[in-house]
Amino acid sequence: MVPDTCLRLRTCLKALDDIVTPALAPDAGFAHEQLALIKKSLQLAIDQIPYEYVFMVRDAQDHLVLARDLAPYVESGGALEARLAGSAGVIAALLPAALPDLPELKQRLRTLKQDVEDTVDGLCTDRTGTELNAIERLVLDHSARRIEMERAWTIATGFEIDPSAIPPVVELIYRTADTPAENATPQTRP
């Protein structure tokens, strides 16, 4: 995904610094105050976005611990015990097994993408006939899925001729029909 949201926000900050700030009248005090807050808010968002998901996961973990520690003090068989057990159980089921390292994932994903691109480059250079055709179809099918997702992700940029033809991005992200098997690893030809 390029640009990611942080990069997009950084370009907004830069435009405010380079173009908008110098264009404001020096005596427009309220506008300058607002602009300063907007810039600080954008910077805060840039800093937080990479960690927002894990921050929430950590928040959930901490509350699960407290719920567990409070449980012995709650009246057995009461309504509160059932509520606490119910909501804690739901959250526990939703949490990932380990706290994900999102910046690490992002960096490793970039490496994988480059390796896949280089593999396609090499295969398209030295394969022919039906083998080449099969490789081309694999890449095209993969591309069709990714492009649909990217179009949905950036639909608000307004470049789609018929935006209604693009499914909502959330629907695509959670669509299970074409979700790859977990931990699928490449098996190379012997």
Binding site: R110, K113, V116, H142, S143, F159
Partner: protein
């Protein structure tokens, strides 16, 4: 760590050897890489711009007085300033186009300068009296042209950035459409061999040399600029190499002839000038036709007919073009260049545009991050067209 932000001499040399292309294209791309680790874009104050212009005009037009320096909006790739120069009571308005540290398209000012001067008289273009090809006067390579009045879109029209998706009424289309086709025909009929175009390499007709040179140009740009791998882009590059058609008739290729890149008088709807020649080269006219006919630049009307650049129905566009030029239209070549152009458009907005914003290198970083959304449209076109060709066994 992103090694592309700090290119090594070894990597640059490897890219130049791997992707041989035109001399001045190579020069512009190599300069970009060598400067990449340098400073980000920082705006120049108007006082400083005026100082630079005064220093330049002191030698270019002795006695000329520079005044009224103002930034111009638009211009996704180059900074633009308008200013006046008065000599002996007569004042003339000019436009300075200056390269930012990196641009959504990295091109050579000498190419733009030579081609605009050569095309003058064939099609309406701004007069270009001066070029600072190496940035000796303005800190970065620049071009000075006469200011031409006009608008890029009807006053009431809505459009996205960079003139994409400009809407014209039926009446406006009737006025602008025929001129639009005629200007493209004239560009392609232009006798470039008699012009001073030594910044351009000439492709050999009857061979694929010129096509491979263009593929190398853009394949190199992808390699230099892309932030992350996209398998489709390599598939496309390899397909383009395997299926390159020979150039039977070499013409000037404007390379960005579309709505948004010409000015017209909003009262008479007369086209006053053709802009944005920076990607021009000598090649196959089908490349230009396919560029102008890109889906992202036009729309489908109620009858399902494609309106090229929102101006001319596609069948009429090609029929009129053939009438004017006498050039045959080879549908296979149009299909080929449609794929090449979708590939190039994707490289421009998804690779180079984003690379600029990563380094904070341009005056239009916020626009470049926005226009990356258009790359999903061009990539979709690329995937669709390639799938069709591959299904037919190409």
């Amino acid at each position: 760590m992103d090694h592309k932000q700090t290119p090594s001499d070894v990597w640059i040399a490897e890219l130049r050897a791997r992707f041989p292309t035109e001399r001045t294209v190579d020069a512009a791309l190599t300069r970009k890489l060598r400067d990449r680790a340098g400073l980000a874009y920082a705006p120049t104050s108007l006082a400083r711009m005026e100082e630079l212009l005064r220093t330049f005009f002191a030698q270019a037009v002795p006695g000329g007085i520079v005044s009224d320096v103002r930034p111009l909006g638009g211009g996704a790739s180059k900074e633009q300033y308008r200013f006046d120069v008065a000599v002996g009571g007569t004042s003339q308005t000019y436009v300075l186009r200056r390269e930012p540290p990196e641009s959504i398209v990295e091109t050579h000012r000498l190419r733009e300068y030579q081609l605009m001067r050569a095309a003058s008289g064939t099609v309406p273009v701004p007069q270009v009296p001066w070029v600072d090809a190496e940035g000796q006067w303005f800190g970065r390579p620049s071009l000075i042209s006469e200011f031409v009045s006009g608008v890029t879109k009807p006053p009431s029209s809505s459009s996205n950035v960079s003139g994409l998706g400009t809407e014209f009424s039926a009446e406006q289309r009737a006025l602008l459409g025929p001129q639009f086709v005629e200007l493209l025909a004239r560009i392609h009929q232009f006798d470039w061999r008699s012009a001073e175009l030594d910044a351009f390499d000439q492709p050999t007709e009857g061979t694929t040399d010129g096509v491979i040179s263009v593929i190398n140009w853009w394949d190199r740009v992808w390699e230099e600029d892309c932030y992350e791998g996209v398998p489709l882009m390599r598939l496309a590059a390899q397909w383009l190499r395997r299926n390159a058609p020979p150039i039977d008739k070499a013409t000037v290729v404007h390379h960005d002839f579309r709505a948004g890149n010409f000015l017209f008088d909003p009262d008479t709807y007369q086209i006053t000038t053709v802009l944005d020649w920076e990607l021009s080269h000598i090649g196959d006219y089908h490349e230009d036709l396919a560029w102008t006919m890109q889906e992202g630049y036009g729309y489908y009307d109620e009858a399902g007919r494609f309106i090229v650049c929102g101006l001319v129905e596609q069948g009429e566009f090609l029929r009129r073009y053939t009438e004017l030029t006498g050039f045959p239209i080879d549908q296979r070549k149009l299909d080929y260049y449609a794929i090449m152009n979708a590939w190039k458009s994707t490289i421009i907005v998804v690779a180079t545009g984003i690379r600029c914003t990563i380094g904070g290198k341009s005056h239009q970083d916020v626009l470049l991050s926005w226009i990356a959304g258009f790359g999903n449209i061009t990539m979709n076109t690329l995937e669709t067209l390639l799938r069709k060709e591959i299904a037919h066994g190409a």
